[in-house]
Symmetry: C2
Subunit: 342 residues, 2 copies
DNA sequence: CGCTCAAAATGAGACGTCTCAATTGCGGAT
DNA sequence: ATCCGCAATTGAGACGTCTCATTTTGAGCG
């Protein structure tokens, strides 16, 4: 490995000057600069990042922890983050916590010494212990993405959950639907709470009463979702003409349940879901979705993180909420039965 | 940050002894060990990994580069690799080359100084330049996974492509099918070539002629695949009773094409694909697949990599091929028309 | 009591970089 | 000719760890 010292010898300048040329921190004469750059070329010098990190206490690396890389939503966020990181010459390390809070904590601990900042998509559904929160606070800055943890007050970037849900529900309202059911994931997740809030708000704004029998919640497990749909759909009294799902996993399973119960979209029930379904364009008819700006979320999160790295503790906490967009496809097509309902 | 020097002061031993206790490289008296361990506990010492790396020239970290994290196949491999890495106390860095060979090369360069070994799933479809191959050879050891690059002679771990394809085709043969079409991805990929070879072998072994009009190849683009299926299926003379797809992307698109052309599985055509389709258990009927041992591939690749890290250059190149398994579901159900064909 | 020898402990030095106080060089002003 | 001031350069030292040659310790033995 070629070192700066060797460059110095070849270029006949001091080691300090070589370092100054390379890091560009101090003014260097044109002559010296040229000699050093020549030497770099001749010896094919490459700086030793480890040594540099030891000295500067910077790694020029960011880390991102996600709950499950096999859910397509997360790689999309990773992509946005990676792009933003590379724009600034940073390197991004990806870790998968496998939906385990403990693993998540472990991974953050492992990242601690290797990165200058962390993007965290928590597994969610629990409150952070004071101890773990303190550990976070004492390490490199953390920006929470998508899912906002309880008990952790950091910068965050996520979609405007309630606004996004409202968008989807308003679309159904505009098609004439009045009995719109909602199926959410676990309400221990703040996102899910907010999305439910958006649903309520949309209905209230439209002057409708929010009927409790139209609000369904389930875990992320197929069986659970199926059971909830079955109960909700076969209930006679107040049958929905439309269903809104608050996330992709739930939406996919719900859709499957509808089909297996003999329902079709949009004919027997209109359907809108949060997130692009995994095999989105495979279904006929195609599914209308509230689409999150995944790439922007990742990208923006890195920008917020850089801000924080620079202004360490200075600025107040920033909570960014990005807007979702509605992509209208077939599953919500206006339909005579739906439009009849009043 | 607590340093070993501070530990030494508190424990009233030398810095060298502290280091010996921590790294366990030399024998240390029980007494000294206890004092040091106490000090570690009291001061909450955590070793500085950067400094350690600088000194030892080891990072205790591995890297994996994959073409596209949004294809579920790759995160599964990552998971197996990560597990194996953690078993040995190593850390795994994940990078997404976004299907670009240039990015791939960049990423390997970036990893160079940060990891002790690299797992590479190349984007494929091109030959590695001698220059890039040389760069690889001069860096940390590389193990190629899944896709084997041309022009790069490294250890590798992947599925037994031809055997796996044979497995799928033999299944169709055993159901009585005789006119079995195959649709592959780009034949610039070695995997695809091998899988096609497996198909040929299965037919030959069964004493059947391989009819050229039954061999279809396409890029990974939907339109392309659709066109190929259309041409193959609407061709009158030699219409297949079964279709075998050699990878998940192609399989998914082919299936969609079948449906849009009015075919159904297994009624009008039997269907078997490589890999679990993204929304596998969503389709009715469910799809029969040749399933790769993704987790094992990742896991095993890390083991091979460790071997190489330890025996640096000593052992001969190892080319591991893991067997696939056939998961029979509905799409290949025996069917009267199929069984009639002779 | 002194000697030997192995085990244990020591501490200087190196890994490659950056930083900073100190020094040098040089043109221009006095 | 001398001095000043600024820019450029220098080189020692530190970051925290591990290594290794050297020294110290102490148990065993004559």
């Amino acid at each position: 490995m070629v070192t700066q010292r060797e460059l110095a010898k070849l270029a006949r300048v001091s080691a300090g000057t070589v370092s100054n040329v390379i890091s560009g921190s101090t003014r260097v004469s044109e002559d010296a600069r040229r000699k050093v750059l020549d030497a770099i070329r001749v010896l094919k010098y490459q700086p030793n990042l480890i040594a540099r990190s030891l000295r500067t206490r910077r790694t020029h690396t960011l880390g991102i922890v996600v709950p499950d890389l096999t859910i397509p939503f997360f790689p999309k966020i990773v992509r946005g983050a990676e792009y933003a990181a590379r724009e600034r010459g940073y390197f991004l390390i990806v870790l998968d916590s496998q939906r385990s809070h403990d693993t998540e904590i472990d991974m953050i601990a492992l990242l601690r010494q290797r990165v200058d900042g962390i993007l965290l998509v928590t597994t969610g559904g629990y409150k952070w212990s004071a101890e773990n929160a303190a550990a976070i606070a004492s390490g490199p800055p953390v920006v929470c993405v998508d899912r906002l943890p309880e008990g952790l007050n950091t910068d965050s970037v996520c979609v405007d959950d309630s606004g996004a849900a409202k968008l989807g529900v308003q679309h159904l309202l505009s098609l004439g639907h009045r009995r719109i059911a909602i199926i959410t994931g676990p309400l221990t997740l703040r996102n899910e709470q907010e999305r439910l809030r958006g649903y309520r708000r949309a209905l209230k704004d439209a002057g409708l009463r929010v009927h409790p029998s139209l609000i369904w919640s389930a875990s992320f497990e197929m069986e659970d979702i199926q059971a909830v749909c079955q109960r909700g759909l076969l209930r006679q009294k107040y049958k929905p003409t439309a269903l809104f799902a608050t996330n992709g996993v739930t939406g996919l399973c719900a859709l499957k349940s509808l089909y297996s119960l003999g329902f079709t979209t949009p004919d027997s029930i209109a359907f809108v879901t949060f997130d692009e379904l995994i095999a989105e364009d495979f279904f006929q008819p195609r599914i209308t979705s509230v689409v999150q700006p995944t790439y922007e979320i990742g990208h923006r999160a890195v920008e917020v993180l850089f801000d924080r790295i620079v202004h360490r503790g200075a600025t107040s906490v920033s909570k960014v909420r990005l807007p979702a967009t509605l992509v209208v496809r077939d599953s919500s097509r206006t339909h005579k039965r739906a439009s009849i309902v009043k």
